[in-house]
């Protein structure tokens, strides 16, 4: 599985090494531009920058402590109108890559000429925590990464089980840092394009002077496997617990009771791509008689109406493509655990239809494909005793 992998030289530390490598790739014209998070001028946040001039890479940060913009969304915005003409590398986290793959399948992004490079993700801090004190946040993040501790991270990151691509690299290149100490990293191709790039960069098995590659790969995949198992367990425990907290009309409405209908969750969601969201369209803007009648039948009508319809309806639109990135939760000004609820809904929906969002461009979208012989449990069987009568009637 990890054929043609290589050791990423990381003498000067992990992040500088990645940046150095990208600079070299730009200089060698392996890529013509790089999409990578960069710290903003006020040094209080990060933004994706598309960089052509290698000098700007000095400001870049391949693994920032927060995720202000989902990388899949950035890729979607970049390539929504067609294929790139220049060769661009995007340095993103696995959930961002999954979103990009999902958007490609939804025909909202184009991966031609775009090289996806993912990294093992330790999670990110909640946006509001970080913005309160960026310097302290950065330190907290570093410490947590060193200690392999996910508890300061966002709740959705704490229960993420797809933080690495050790199992099945779906991107062109994946940089694995797990299991190897002191920022040592392996770089694993997931496609022919990835292999070609490694060869161009002179990173091949033969070029591995230290001879540590097999052990490093072994350590990496063992550790990733191990961590995936514990995280999967953690996820199912957390989801079971969460389901108890949300199940039923009362509890659900308690959770969404403080929603202010700002639709931030929808706007930042990488896979919610509609230009005009159904729930903001004229479909739900009705004459006052309608609102008054609805109010009269219940004694009151929350206004603006359709809060639950928005969340449930949005889930019905995107749960099958949800990559559990948690961007929605970061953007919620009311601290509603919307990312956690949606990850719960997504896991259920994707399991029901045998799909994993963003796993591969090859998997058909579940609402586009179908099997003749499937899902019979949603069909309501017709009780046979009526049959005789039916024949008689005919």
């Amino acid at each position: 599985m990890n054929a043609n992998a290589a050791v990423l030289p990381t003498k000067e530390g992990f992040e500088p090494a990645v940046i150095q490598w990208l600079k070299e790739a730009l200089n060698r014209n392996v890529f013509e531009a790089v999409l990578i998070p960069v710290e903003t001028p006020a040094e209080d946040s990060f933004a994706y920058l598309l960089i052509k001039d290698p000098k700007f890479l000095d400001l870049a940060s391949p693994l920032p402590p927060i995720m202000p913009v989902q990388g899949g969304k950035a890729i979607g915005r970049l390539t929504m109108r067609g294929d790139l003409n220049k060769r661009v590398a995007a340095i993103i986290r696995p959930c961002e890559a999954r979103a990009a793959i999902e958007l490609t399948k939804l025909k909202q992004a184009h991966l031609t000429n775009l090289t996806l490079i993912t990294l093992d993700c330790p999670g990110v801090l909640p946006l509001s925590d970080y913005l309160d004190d960026p310097a302290a946040g950065a330190a907290r993040f570093r410490e947590a990464v060193e200690q392999d501790n996910r508890s300061p991270m966002r709740p959705t990151c704490q229960i993420c089980h797809r933080f690495s691509l050790a199992e099945a690299p779906a991107t062109d290149l994946h940089i694995g840092t797990l299991g190897n100490d002191d920022g040592a990293a392996v770089i694993v191709p997931g496609s022919l394009e990835g292999e070609r790039i490694l060869a161009q960069m002179g990173l091949t098995e033969d070029g591995d002077e230290s001879g540590n590659l097999p052990e490093m790969l072994e350590r990496w995949s063992t550790r990733a496997e191990q961590l995936t198992a514990t995280q999967t367990e953690r996820r199912s425990e957390a989801h079971a617990q969460l389901q108890e907290q949300v199940a039923g009309a009362d509890r659900l409405l308690d959770i969404f009771g403080s929603c202010i209908n700002c639709h931030n969750c929808q706007r930042v969601c990488p896979v919610c791509y509609c230009r005009q969201c159904y729930f903001e369209s004229t479909a739900l803007k009705l004459p006052p008689e309608n609102y008054l009648a609805r109010a009269a039948s219940k004694g009151a009508l929350r206004f603006a109406p359709d809060t639950l319809l928005f969340h449930l309806g949005r889930a019905s639109h995107m749960a099958l493509s949800c990559v559990s990135c948690g961007a929605c939760e970061d953007a919620c000004p009311m601290d509603i655990p919307v990312g956690q609820v949606f990850s719960l809904l997504a896991d259920g929906a994707q399991e029901a239809l045998g799909y994993v969002a963003g796993r591969s461009v090859e998997d058909a979208l579940p609402l586009v494909a179908y099997e003749m012989d499937e899902l019979h449990d949603v069909e309501q069987a017709y009780v046979e005793i009526y049959r005789e009568q039916e024949v008689q009637d005919a």
């Binding site: 700007f56 206004f303 603006a304």
Partner: protein, 380 residues
């Protein structure tokens, strides 16, 4: 400006009830619903079984305004701009029967401004507003912290002051006395608000609606000194707030650098009424050639692009009508003081045209009108 505001806020008849402000309003709304004088009331209410959430609701059941009912019309909290909601309510046609709305002065201004922009109808809307002592930030409402603040809030209101924990936007608000309301509830600087309450009935309809309330007719005009003092204090706070805005290109880039592009400020803005915002439309879905051109020119660019363009462009679209309600700051997940910046720009834009948004329906929106002999210095 404040003088004009106070005089038109209390136009006609005053009524003092011998019940607290909260009870008076509840009783008034209850009687309006019971007698069928209004079909519904738009007011704040608690949501969920735990009552932790707060949202505007269209109440038809009079019991909602009972002492332990779910309606909380005077709660110092603004989960949405009520003016925008009234516009949404009447967007597809005017109301078939009277509906009362308990809203704050900035919400009232927003509603009037939206009427000028043809985004609804004033017909059958019965407006109840109050001299406003501000509201708390949205995050105060989480986990029940709002309840703790209420005693301090009402204490400072009675003294004609604003609680320091109120939103900075509110503390810097100069149009806290409603104009154009049918009923104005006098709150700011009124003593003994848990025992008595003064209402000012500004229209005939208001006088008719308030008939069921027991109280004494007030002869004297309200004492404007407290309002004037509050106005001076708030203006000073406003100036300090505006002075803190980082300006220039550098300031703009640094302030909006952490924008995450959720456009929540636009969604909750009552004045931003467009069905599809220009900045969410296909106009702003850039071609590959755009990115490659910018890359060629600058060596790098932000993706998604147009962060500063969105902010400046939105200012150009709505600064003239901005009522300074502060929803944009409240909603911002990146804690950008959007409202402060927009208010500062709005103050400049509105001063340019000597315009006060939402003051009176008859005042034309500046970009829809012009004079031949103006702004000679702008054109050469």
């Amino acid at each position: 400006m404040p003088e004009a505001a106070t005089s038109s806020a209390f136009a006609t008849q005053g009524l003092r009830t011998n019940q607290g402000a909260e009870e008076t309003v509840r009783q008034l709304l209850r009687s309006l619903l019971q007698s069928g004088q209004v079909e519904a009331v738009l007011a704040l209410g608690k949501t969920g079984t735990d009552g932790k959430g707060v949202a505007y609701s269209l109440f038809t059941d009079p019991d909602a305004f009972a002492v332990d009912g779910e309606a909380v019309p005077l709660l110092p909290y603004m989960p949405a701009n009520g003016g925008g909601l009234l516009s949404r309510l009447t967007l597809e046609g005017s109301l078939p029967g009277p509906v009362a709305a308990v809203i704050r002065p900035c919400e009232l201004q927003a509603f009037i401004e939206l009427m000028k922009l043809n985004q609804g109808s004033l017909d059958n809307v019965f407006l109840i507003s109050s001299t406003c002592g501000g509201v708390y930030p949205l995050e105060t409402g989480l986990e029940g912290h709002l309840e703790e603040k209420l005693p301090a809030y009402w204490r400072s209101i009675e003294q004609g002051e604003l609680d320091e924990a109120a939103r900075p936007t509110c503390r810097a608000c100069e149009s806290f006395a409603p104009e154009g309301a049918d009923i104005t509830i006098a709150l700011l600087g009124e003593e003994g608000l848990d025992e008595q309450c003064s209402l000012y009935l500004n229209t005939e309809r208001a006088a008719a609606f308030a008939q069921r309330l027991e109280g004494t007719i007030l002869d004297a005009e309200p004492d404007g000194t407290v309002l004037e003092r509050s106005s001076v204090e708030r203006s000073a706070f406003r100036e300090a707030l505006f002075a803190g805005v980082e300006t220039g290109l550098k300031g703009l880039v640094e302030t909006f650098g952490r924008c995450i592009g959720c456009h929540g400020c636009k969604t909750v803005c009552p004045i931003c009424y467009c069905q599809v915002c220009h900045f969410d439309s296909h106009e702003c879905e850039r071609e590959i050639a755009y990115y490659e051109g910018e890359l060629q020119r600058k060596g790098g660019l932000r993706v998604p692009p147009d962060t500063v363009f969105f902010q400046l462009g939105r200012m150009a679209h709505m600064a003239i009508s901005c009522v300074g309600c502060g929803m944009c700051t409240d909603v911002c997940p990146a804690d950008i003081p959007v409202s402060t910046i927009f208010s500062k720009v709005a103050a400049s834009a509105q001063a340019t045209f000597d315009y006060v948004p939402g003051r009176a329906l008859a005042e034309e929106i500046p970009l829809r009108t012009f004079r031949e002999d103006e702004f000679a210095q702008v054109a050469t």
